[in-house]
């Protein structure tokens, strides 16, 4: 492998396993395959990788960016010399992304002092740079100017992305969905064991599905007998319409993963609680979580906000989750009990219990 890196890696594009990987990787995969490139992914996130990433940036930078820098370094160490770092500025008119995600290529260019080729297309629908332009820009930067080839690649990318979306909407876990989508397969939903509790996790894909960052929160919840819904299980239209139903305006580009998902499940009464997972110092999250917290307390839905950074200890983290789940179980048991009693109780007493219930419910 090591003897002639440039020749081996000439036709390979490196994609860091962070930030937009968790939302768009199936499309990137299909698109680059269609253009005739192979894809090299960075390794799984580890503590060492995070530390390496944080060496390059100033301390105020948030965890996901540090992780991203770590992944880029990892790719460079593997010998990859073409890395795909898109700048996703805005995904709809006046719906912008977080500044750090918008400026990812700028950060990487100025922070990492090694020679490599950066593919840095821009998506900015507010200023009339559409998704098609984004794809063409990517291809042009890779010296491909054949329009037919690009169109076919875009089609292929969408087909894989659609498969992926179909599977995630049906409830297949993220990792499996990506694996099947890349193999160009659609797998139908496995038979589901009904779980006593269900929660919705509002978090960005890059926080939630990265097992090191989220400390495999979904798996932990599953072990406790809790079904966890995520933003991937809600379609875009549903998410947007439920944000509107709450009376809010979508402001951030990646808001659908958080507010959209939480609003959808909250409005449809499908969950017993909300878990918010966000990185420390995340600007957009601080606003979105507050928004949902406001509506959750109005609806009487319990909610917990977990903040993570590179020093978060797993023990403290799990204790908080366990306590929350315990609380949910007790609350649900009480509600069921009260509901059974209601039939036998006289009307005045029913009101009393309902009032009592309200008080206990308002825990946020």
């Amino acid at each position: 492998m090591k003897k002639d890196n440039t020749e081996i890696y000439n036709n390979i594009i490196g994609i860091p396993k962070a930030i937009s990987y968790y939302n768009n990787y199936p499309f990137y995969f299909g698109f680059f395959k269609g253009l005739g490139f192979d894809i090299l992914l960075s390794d799984k996130t580890t503590t060492k990788l995070i530390n390496e990433g944080s060496n390059y940036v100033v301390s105020d930078t948030c965890l996901p960016i540090k992780v991203f820098v770590g992944h880029v370094i990892n790719l460079l160490e593997k010998g990859c010399n073409t890395i795909f770092i898109p700048s996703l500025q805005s995904t709809a008119y006046k719906v912008n992304n977080c500044t750090k995600i918008r400026g990812l290529p700028e950060i990487i260019r100025n922070v990492i002092d090694r020679p490599f080729k950066m593919i840095e297309p821009t998506l900015d629908k507010t200023n009339n740079i559409s998704f098609k332009d984004f794809c063409y820009d990517t291809a042009h930067q890779l010296d491909i100017f054949d329009e037919n080839k690009i169109e076919v690649a875009i089609q292929y990318g969408w087909s894989i992305y659609n498969n992926f979306q179909q599977m995630t909407l049906a409830g297949i876990p993220f990792e499996d969905a990506i694996k099947y989508a890349i193999e160009n397969k659609i797998v139908s939903k496995p038979i589901e064991i009904v779980k006593p509790l269900s929660v919705v996790i509002m978090a960005h894909g890059y926080n939630l599905f990265d097992e090191r960052i989220s400390m495999s929160l979904i798996k932990k919840l599953e072990k406790m007998g809790v079904k966890a819904y995520t933003g991937l299980n809600v379609s875009k239209q549903d998410a947007i319409s439920s944000i509107e139903k709450l009376g809010e305006i979508q402001y951030w580009a990646n808001e659908l993963d958080l507010t959209g998902a939480a609003a959808y499940y909250m409005l449809n009464n499908k969950v017993d609680g909300i878990i918010a997972l966000s990185a420390f110092g995340c600007g957009p999250d601080s606003l979105m979580v507050d928004e949902i917290q406001y509506h959750a307390s109005e609806k009487g839905l319990p909610m917990i906000h977990l903040t993570i950074d590179e020093h978060t200890g797993e023990a403290g983290f799990i204790t908080r989750v366990e306590a929350f789940v315990d609380m949910l179980i007790r609350r649900k048991r009480k509600i069921l009990k009260d509901n059974n009693n209601i039939k036998r109780l006289p009307s005045s007493k029913r009101e009393q219990t309902a009032k009592k219930d309200d008080k206990t419910v308002n825990f946020v």
Partner: protein, 400 residues
């Protein structure tokens, strides 16, 4: 276009204009930011509406803001919210705020403030100036909604006096920055500035406002200064609000001036006003932003919101124009400025200019802050003296 219209409708639904308040009963207030009041008071009062000025930003105000806002929000919002609350307590019923979506959390301020204040039980009408596209139209619409004033002379008077006052106070500030480190009698420049601040606030006639700038320049020229003093020049860059608000930045300009440093601030309210309100085809010279984009080209290929590109462009500009150092200030957890901080490390190394980043939040102590500034200024001064020595040596060799 369809998307635009949808978005506009959405916004209008959220910020429903309250027409129940009669124009007579309206009492207008806005968040404080440096000298912005001078211009706004002139403008709004000439349109015939009552005004309540929120008390200046202080520890007390900050405490109110911190108490009522969420944990993760940035410092300017906390102060804005405090201003609103204090103004509402004083009897205001119409709140004005401009917003520019797409920059950072700033675009969400009005939305959040409205919700928080309503939750607290206040009744008010929020008027939003959307500084995105068709700015002049938006501004006039908002003023029409508040004042119902159809007299064009009053608009002319308001805008004319407002603009002239903004230009006058900024000229005074620029002269103050120049004079303060060079003055022979300590405190004279400061006194002069304060005197003119009062005069500007009290002037009401159009003609009087137009004359202000000249008078200020003449008056500052009378202050005796030491012209031969070696004065290092430092650029002050960073986030808009923190730069313009003297409480938040702990009067950094005064601190620096007293240390014998000439401060130059690139962001002034009047410049920004001129740039924002003018249609782009009327720009006569290269605007500040265009210059920044040109200079930042090596480091940044796209604008990413906030004032990142201005910060980077100005730093490069400073390095190319013989400025001795750059002080970069920002509120804690400001997203665009964290990106600039990352990039500034490289700019500082490549352009060979000392840069110091100061992060401000509600817990910033003045002592620690002062020490850092002093150490930085020492470094800048020493560098300046060394450069001069090297220059003298080279000249000496040439003379031989």
């Amino acid at each position: 276009m369809k998307e635009e219209r949808q978005r506009e409708e959405q916004k209008n639904r959220f910020f429903q204009k309250d027409n129940t308040i009669a124009t007579k009963d309206r009492v207008v207030a806005w968040p404080r930011m440096g000298n912005i009041d001078l211009a706004l008071v002139a403008l709004v009062s000439s349109l015939g509406v009552k005004i309540v000025e929120a008390p200046p930003n202080s520890n007390e105000a900050l405490e109110i803001g911190v108490k009522n806002s969420i944990e993760g929000i940035c410092l300017p919002y906390k102060l804005n919210l405090a201003n609103y609350i204090m103004a509402l307590e004083k009897g205001a019923n119409t709140l004005m705020m401009f917003q520019a979506p797409g920059s950072c959390r700033f675009g969400n301020y009005t939305k959040m403030a409205q919700k928080t204040l309503k939750k607290m039980g206040y009744k008010f009408d929020m008027v939003v100036f959307d500084m995105y596209q068709s700015k002049m139209k938006q501004t006039l619409q908002a003023f029409w909604h508040v004042t119902r004033c159809a007299n064009p002379y009053r608009y002319y008077k308001g805008f004319s006096t407002g603009f002239n006052k903004a230009f006058a106070i900024d000229t005074a500030e620029r002269l103050l920055f120049y004079t303060r480190p060079r003055e022979l009698n300590k405190g004279e420049a400061e006194r002069c500035y304060k005197k003119w601040y009062k005069i500007i606030a009290e002037t009401t006639s159009i003609w009087g406002c137009k004359q202000l700038k000249k008078q200020i320049i003449n008056d500052f020229k009378k202050i005796p200064i030491d012209k031969n003093k070696i004065v290092p020049k430092v650029y002050l860059l960073g986030e808009f609000f923190v730069l313009l608000d003297p409480y938040t930045n702990k009067e950094i300009e005064k601190t620096l001036g007293d240390l014998g440093v000439e401060v130059e601030r690139q962001i002034f309210f009047s410049d920004w006003l001129e740039h924002v309100l003018q249609p782009s085809f009327l720009y006569k010279k290269e605007s500040h932003r265009e210059r920044c984009v040109r200079f930042a080209e090596k480091y940044m290929k796209r604008a990413i919101g906030g004032e990142t590109i201005e910060t980077i462009g100005d730093t490069v500009f400073a390095a190319k124009n013989g400025i001795d150092g750059v002080i970069h200030i920002m509120p804690f957890s400001c997203m665009p400025e964290i990106v600039s901080q990352n990039i500034l490390t490289k700019v500082s190394k490549e352009e060979n200019i000392p840069v110091m980043s100061l992060v401000l939040d509600e817990q910033t102590g003045k002592a620690g802050y002062q020490t850092r500034i002093e150490a930085f200024i020492d470094l800048v001064k020493r560098k300046k003296v060394r450069q001069k020595n090297i220059k003298n040596k080279e000249e000496g060799i040439l003379q031989c």
